[in-house]
Symmetry: C2
Subunit: 254 residues, 2 copies
């Protein structure tokens, strides 16, 4: 019986909370922990994919956590003064505001490294490959964003879509998904980035909303949600929890 | 017949020069290329280990390049204003001085990601695991260095030794070295960091030289070189080129 998203979120919180960040990482443990806030959307998604495929959550948790650490890496670096210059995130000081700029740069580096280490705990290199491809897309997308003047859809695909795709695929690959079974999962995964980003833009009043207005952005989100549900329905697995997650992404208000 | 270090260096240069940095990395291709200067000590070492084990250089080059990209990643981030604030390296502007701080942060991130991608081109995850462990050690070591007051031997081991160890082991693992054959190579690899760093400190007049003086530091380098040669002699392979490389590391003047 697959677990509901709240139960999966608790598993993610517990796993992240127990990551030791010891040994060589001990000097950065405090800022690394500081950075790990958030809604856990991506790791919950990874776990739900794993459960739909019949895997134990324990098997999928390292991959799910790896995806979350890459997300945190990107936020810690994006918040830096020379990039977005954000001093607050989720009601708390950003890592650089709390620990200084140099330590924040190293904290982001360490989060990325630790993510790769977790993704490499599997016998197959496929999980880590999926994650590194998404990471490179996010970094390239951030540089395009810095330069300005680039297509918003392209930016969203790189900066948001790639890691949503990796969340689904890392969850699946950690659960033993074979190469011949990947296609329908990739099709599903490909709808989630635009869905998440369109709702984000509505909540923040930026991005798509500035380009096409809130009503049109709501339509973008809803049609991406419908396509995601249709893709899920084509997958031969118990995708009921994933359907709940998709509905929650469409309806979310924070 | 193993190739001499200069021939190996040319192979490394050609491979690095041909890395496309295209697709999602295209926006960062120029600063990534800018960052890739240097003596190629680590990738040449990796290739020489691979050749000693009978592997084609073509097989080992992605691993060798991955090690070099991690080295470049660390330099690009260490040069940043909030860390070492260096505006010049190898007679040219550092990446942040030439391309701005934000792009330099992203360039370092991209170098690390691309290194992992190259290390993940192998069927075995062992190469990437070795590299990520070294990367985490370097990042943790840099944070200790920021904090100040830490033991110089420990700092050198983390900031320099770990990646020299990875150069040897990634070259070996890419060449198919089995778990049961690793120990003598690890013993050899463990001598190289202190050897390289002691000579570096002599050439730069800092580190060990400030602690124990130039003469004592020279002795540290020479005895590490002797131990490295002794370790090599215990390995059942044609290690003649590696012996030349070790002798070159002891004698180097720049």
């Amino acid at each position: 019986m697959p677990q509901d998203p709240d139960a999966l979120r608790e598993l993610v919180e517990a796993f992240l909370g127990e990551l030791p960040f010891d040994g060589v990482l001990e000097p950065l443990a405090a800022p690394m922990r500081h950075s790990l806030g958030g809604k856990r959307v991506r790791p919950v998604l990874a776990l739900a994919v794993g459960e739909a495929l019949g895997a134990d959550t324990a098997t999928v948790l390292p991959a799910a956590a790896a995806v979350e650490l890459v997300h945190s890496f990107s936020l810690v670096h994006d918040d830096l003064p020379s990039l977005d210059n954000d001093t607050e995130r989720r009601g708390r000081p950003t890592v650089w505001a709390a620990h200084g700029e140099a330590t924040a740069i190293l904290t982001g580096d360490a989060l990325l490294g630790e993510a790769m280490r977790l993704a490499l705990t599997y016998d197959t290199p496929a999980v880590a490959r999926e994650l590194v491809d998404a990471t490179l897309a996010m970094i390239g997308g951030q540089q395009l964003d810095l330069e300005g003047g680039h297509d918003l859809h392209r930016l969203h695909e790189l900066k948001t879509g790639a890691l949503f795709r990796a969340a689904v695929m890392c969850g699946g690959l950690a659960a033993g998904l074979g190469v011949s079974e990947e296609a329908p999962w990739r099709a599903f995964a490909g709808e989630l980035g635009v869905l998440f980003q369109a709702v984000d833009d509505i909540l923040d009043g930026d991005g798509f909303v500035l380009e096409v207005g809130a009503d049109e952005t709501r339509k973008v989100a809803e049609s991406a949600g419908e396509r995601a549900q249709a893709r899920l329905a084509e997958i031969d697995a118990d995708t009921s929890v994933l359907a709940t997650i998709v509905a929650g992404l469409v309806a979310r208000t924070h």
